[in-house]
């Protein structure tokens, strides 16, 4: 395999990290909390798709078409994200950040255990949602998943950026992130803006989960943990709270991970990823594109 192939699949993996990192960073921006249950929303998204598309699992389900299953998965995750915020985080809005963090970890375990109860602990084979063959350009093979992941990732990132920059709700999200009190004085409903943020983040997590499980074709209750942590690293790497930072951080992380896997060591890859993070934070504590940190304690 050539360098370019590794690079491309790195960008593809990185696009997935970026989609997840966007959820972390948007939620952090608006409520100054690290939503550690975000990774598990990915897993729920993948399991929802698996359930909807499998003929056997749900009694009477003939196995829905892929497109319909994807929509259901996105819908379920969107609702789940909004519910998690309403039930678990909203009552803690004025609580200490440690209490919120512990709650987030609790929600994470809760989601994993729900999945364990329903699906059991063994990994299920996941059929890729991409059903067309890859490309071969000048002897270089590019998998269909790589193409789809990069395309979907780029489209979503451009769309989201335009939404935030130009829509009224996008502006409201920025305003609430900067000053909740002042935002209310403008007539912005802070609760529904926070809900919208969780909804968008969780919808992106569903897409990321489907893409991730299409590239690494299995799903288990622990599937969300690793990409969740990596995307969190990517968000911090890019500057937590910064939307372009999450995109750049995610893609860079995917590239670093794939190139170190290819040229340095498969076993060491996670250690390398975390070492890079530590280095970046030592040099620039706010991440690549981070502004000054406003820590809520």
């Amino acid at each position: 395999m050539s360098f370019l192939t590794y690079l491309l699949s790195g960008v593809s993996l990185g696009s997935i990290y970026a989609l997840i990192a966007l959820g972390y960073t948007m939620v952090y921006g608006i409520s100054r909390m690290l939503n550690f249950a975000h990774g598990d929303v990915i897993m729920i998204g993948a399991f929802t798709l698996w359930t909807a598309a499998s003929p056997s699992f749900f009694p009477g389900n003939p196995g829905l078409p892929t497109a319909v299953s994807i929509l259901i998965s996105i819908l379920v995750c969107t609702l789940l994200g909004v519910l998690i915020e309403k039930i678990a985080y909203k009552p803690l809005r004025n609580a200490s950040s440690l209490a919120v963090l512990i709650t987030a970890i609790g929600v994470s375990y809760f989601l994993q255990n729900i999945a364990l109860l329903i699906f059991g602990s063994d990994a299920k084979a996941f059929n890729s949602v991409v059903s067309f063959p890859g490309l071969e350009i000048g002897g270089m093979k590019i998998s269909a998943e790589t193409i789809v992941t990069i395309t979907v990732g780029v489209l979503i990132m451009v769309g989201l950026s335009l939404f935030i920059k130009f829509s009224k709700q996008g502006k409201a999200m920025l305003a609430v992130s900067e000053d909740k009190g002042a935002a209310q004085l403008m007539g912005i409903n802070v609760n529904s803006t926070i809900s919208l943020t969780f909804a968008i983040g969780s919808a992106l997590a569903a897409v990321a989960g489907i893409l991730y499980c299409s590239v690494f074709p299995q799903v288990s209750p622990y599937t969300g943990a690793m990409p969740g942590i990596k995307a969190f690293v990517a968000a911090v790497f890019g500057g937590i709270g910064s939307i372009p930072g999450a995109m750049v951080g995610g893609i860079l992380l995917g590239i670093i991970e794939n190139l170190s896997k290819a040229y340095i060591s498969t076993e060491m890859v996670d250690a390398i990823v975390f070492a890079v993070l530590i280095l970046v934070l030592l040099v620039k504590p706010t991440g690549i594109m981070g502004k000054k940190m406003t820590e809520k304690v």
Binding site: L174, E178, G181, Q184, L185, I188, N189
Partner: protein, 236 residues
Amino acid sequence: MPMLTIENLEVYYGMIRAIKGISFSVEEGEVIALIGANGAGKTTILHTITGLISPRSGKIDFEGHDLVKTPAHKIVSLGMAHVPEGRRIFPSLTVYENLKLGAYTRKDKAGIEETLKQVYRHFPRLEERKNQVAGTLSGGEQQMLAMGRALMSNPRIILMDEPSMGLSPLYVTEIFSIIKEISKEGKTVLLVEQNAKKALEIANRAYVLETGTISMEGKASEFMQNDLVRKAYLGE
């Protein structure tokens, strides 16, 4: 009927009673000055009126609307705008984006454009800097932006919390002359100030707040003559 009536308002921060049962009213078209030393409770009163803090007891009536029961984000569309203490503009957004957020609840595109023109007429500097990121404006310009942003909702009453705080004398004069203009255009103004002299110059009536209670009220012109006020608040 006054436009805004506050009755027996009590506000607590935890165990601390910050506002101890005050009552006052604002008539349509008036400029009311609420003066008092640092920590008297001026900001707390404004925050309670616009719903950022809930009172322990008391009534706030604005043109027949019970503001105690109205969520903060629904108050601006009733015709009440609040220029908060410390300006609280959105620093990473541009001047123009800040102004547009001031009109967040309005649907009338043509009306918004018209108001924007008026705001630029009051504050030509905001038009010159409309594409500048708000966080990079000077203190005086940020105050203008905060006032312009409040005007964008086309309010009938505007609450201002220490608009002159931390500004150079030149800016203070400019800000107060604009408040006067705004009032001339028919808007009612509730002005909170530590700079009592300037506030009394443009106000019709005034209230003095002392640690959570109103200790004096009357016509602004009489206040200027009152020895007690002159000593305590006008530094004479």
